[in-house]
Symmetry: D3
Subunit: 248 residues, 6 copies
């Protein structure tokens, strides 16, 4: 039995509210238990300098925690004058993961920026961010499709992410902060609607882990992500209808 | 008649939700129409270096806008590596205003930090922030009073803020963004529950203004702030009961 | 009677010396008592990126204090690697105030930068800067008028600034540092030659202030600014002859 | 057949030279083919602020590429004034990996810093760095053991790292730059002498990957790491004799 | 004949005004022709961290040019967020030169900071700064001697600096900006009252120079510095009486 | 007799290895005793903004020390977020010195960047860097000459550098770190193959020095540089054959 009474393979309560920002092309407030992330998608008709003139688009992400998203207050990175290593690592991960299900050629010379702002943190902020960012992205692309004519639909598959770890000797799904701080292995997995891996990041800082532990964790992750993608389909409804159209 | 149908002396719809963050000592989500600000109050048992050893406390504020709080996306200050002048000016104003109703001696060697994060901006983000920050501060001090023994109650009066301006030749209260961008005079006023001024900041960049315009604007501000303080009293209820106790 | 023997409505000794820099298009060394500010005006045939292609000009200001302008030495902002909030707030104020009396359309695609460097500080550095910067600006525009043909004269009115405050319970004009540090209310006012307000910034950090105190302070400020604009007219002489020409 | 004629499971030519810096407590110049990394280990009798007073030590890493380590010259991060996201991500990975085989309690209040400077880059700079950094660390701890009396030997196991990926549809070991830029899946694996995983980081930016591909890659990585640890044992000789002593 | 009519070995008009800042322990406004530098000396009863606990003092300098000290306006280093290489090089030179005539042991645990702010630049700003900084330093130490009891007088000799260079094939003394920009060799020399060298910095970027040119330049520099030290003696008068006392 | 047994006029053991980087247009690993510097030359077909459209090229240098190049570890400048004054001063010196023997007109619109990374430091890192950078530059220009057609050969003479100083009262050549830290005078000299001076930088921080000491040091430097240029000729062989061709 886990700290909060969940089964090993049970996600926390997942809530997803869309349309939470009146300006953004896509927006979502997503919660994995007490972890709450506000994601906005911004579409701009230009690409970064290194992408210019290739006829392709770009998808990127920025990640930030509000200073009091955590138990004790953290200094703002804007006040410190630089982004920390953890922030950079996470926003690189989010962007990379989303691009794996976007056909940048089909998107055309546009940039979509996913801003993931953690309102409250209780473990799993990066997996919550990826899962929510996919929804904001999908809404923005669906809206874009109304005016732009894509030669094929730019989103090629669903995408979600969850954490898994070994806590008190047992593999568990979707760790909260208490579990995370006791985990001997901590893994973040990103998968597509087709059940393929996009990112597998497992770390055994406290102690190394075996191949069989790794296998058990990957199984749990697959279960959780399948469930999360189910929720994404539900929330997106018609806005998700054309996802993967080009791949079929 | 104003753009959004309001009377000259009418506030936008004001909503205030407290307890929105499970970690912060005080928290509030406040909206002046479509301007939404999340404020958390953090209490720490230390003071900044320049205050050390004086037996007094400190109250300070930080202000930030989420990148897509506005019509088009703004680059994060953390990514640019420094705070802009507008941000600094606003957070200095918020801190200064709040300190005017706090007895730092009575507070003791503690720092209360008010983090004002603008979720969505439609004019008046600084006045919304001040009005909300006062509530988060009051909740945090009320909670602190349960364990700390103050020689007198540290909050000496209520405090709220509103903007006023001259739009299309008429003085109006609580400008939204559209009005703000057309205003020939723009003024932010901070007042106490006792009806005294704490800050008066009027600017006529587009064109200078006369003494009689100034008088009309101050009158409107007083009306608006009285109404806002009424709402603060309602929201705080018992948590506001001891405010001003030391001054009576 | 004030600390330095002045009457409540009496300015400090004001001295103004122009032509103090052999390179600048306009320059002035201005003193309000022991507060001394060196201002240079630089005219450049380009505008900042956000103003490009509008056929309009720009007027901006930068403000800095030499490290030993004050009683104890302050670290240089260049050495700290960033501008402080106070500096940003003041230079935004100076630029905004000057632009209120400049017809940017008439100026054409040029930038005029007013550099205000405080050589010695004894209270009122921002009001001294604004009053001096107007003179340097007027000299630069007068010189520019010799070669450029303006469709109307770009400076529309005189402009000066002074501080007022409540010290020992009485409203006084043009506070020096000692008075400033004891003032319960501190207000900076910027007005035009026509007696209109451009900026009114009143702060009661120590204690809030009443409407009647505000009224008394505004009256004092008007007196002081009228006197300062008289001195500006004298110093500028023929160089100020065309000011406001377009507005008549 | 691979671009450079290697078998799928074949490492590049590995060379390791120790004692290359006369000041450092441990140093090594390691090459995986044309990727060359200079690593120094520095032992200091203090710990970072967040570790103070816990009686434990700390192991951390810094990573940098010389500007012309690559085909075209990269701007120095010191000249840009900040570390890039990739650098931060890699140096966090190196430090975390090394700490997994160090008993920080046994190390005592000391910091060991591993500086990994890439002299020449041809793919796999992070895996080369980890493999070399372990050697420099082991030499430094062996030297430290001569004067310090550890209650148990602080290094608990060997540790090495290698990259694997899917290139032209086939899983291959230890990718060079040409292979890396064509790989559809790219994975970095860190393992211990006991054959346990410490880090598994797999990314399918170009296209997602299946569970069976993942399994094949993990198998290849195990082969390569076993071989690398064999080379580490050889190079360290007597200096590695006490590794894992405390765990036996 | 030189551009401005001077002889080869003739200094520009040198003016020195002391006591120009009411707060600083020493201050001087020094001009070498149109090059004008304001120098203040600040005495503080502490030393930088790397000097603590040695019973010795420290002398350091900071150098800055006002943005419009030059023909065209330069961006402020505070606005750029960092000091340029030229500024750092010059301020290191000034500090090092002054320390050569200060007995840091005799000074005791104090820091004297010389702030050299270039009001107007026409060549030779570093030599003007050094020559002026010595005077400000001497005044500050003389004032300090009234209350502190030194075991020997901390200033061991006079010190001044001048530039020399080869212009139009001839060695000349104290170059102005026009000469400096045409010079094939440019040299800055710092010497003591005893005629010893403290710094010799000669550069032939345009073209290398011979030993005989070097000899001629050193001779000119000696002439100029002797004259400058004469002027320093005159200006300091009684305040310079104890200089070198400890060395006699 | 010197600490390491050398004669006063004897260089340390000099070793020079070229072709140490497979990507750079020129590269060299040069050692003056235990001081080891890796230099790469990068040729790019563009010039910095301030040189654009003049038909001329540019030669510049960057200098850095690996953190453990010295006895105790230094923090990376990239981690501190800015270049130190010493680094800036040295890289400006290296670039300036090299440009004195390059005909920028003949080079055409190209930039050659010399990256000098100090692998190990034992005194004389700047002189070792200049001497090595000349070799890397010469190799890069020789290679460039194969495809580019220069109207005259861009390198006009050989160039090397050495340090000299007064240690224990005697002038000595090529100081190691121990000598350097005891030297009362420290001088760096850069000379050409024709025996002309390019830079003479002498500093007597500990104590001033006389003209006769200066003369003795300059003589020693000439001896050392002549020997170093002999070694450069040997190493470059045919690659140096055209140096100075245009000047003959």
């Amino acid at each position: 039995m886990r700290i909060d009474g969940r089964e090993a393979a049970q996600l926390r309560s997942i809530t997803i509210e869309t349309g939470v920002n009146k300006y953004a092309e896509g927006s979502v407030l997503i919660a994995f238990g007490d972890t709450k992330v506000l994601v906005t998608a911004t579409v701009e008709d230009r690409v970064p300098p290194f992408m210019k003139g290739q006829g392709k688009g770009w998808v990127t992400a920025e990640y930030s925690m509000l200073p009091r998203a955590t138990q004790s207050r953290n200094q703002r990175e804007a006040a410190r004058g630089k982004l920390g290593g953890r922030t950079m690592e996470i926003q690189r991960l989010i962007g990379r993961a989303l691009r794996s299900v976007v056909d940048l050629q089909a998107l055309g010379e546009r940039t979509i920026t996913l801003d993931c702002d953690v309102i409250q943190a209780d473990g799993g902020t990066r997996t919550t961010s990826i899962t929510g960012a996919f929804i904001a992205l999908a809404i923005a692309v669906d809206k874009l499709a109304e005016k732009a004519s894509f030669k094929s639909y730019p989103i090629t598959d669903y995408l979600a992410s969850v954490s898994v770890g070994v806590v008190n000797g047992s593999p568990v799904l979707d760790l909260n902060y208490d579990e995370d701080s006791k985990a001997k292995v901590d893994m973040n997995v990103v998968m597509t609607g087709a059940g393929q891996f996009v990112e597998v990041q497992g770390t055994g800082e406290e102690s190394p882990f075996s191949r069989s532990e790794l296998d058990a964790l990957l199984g749990l992750a697959e279960t959780g992500i399948t469930e999360l993608i189910g929720k994404q389909r539900e929330v997106l409804g018609q806005a998700g209808a054309r996802i993967g159209e080009g791949s079929r």
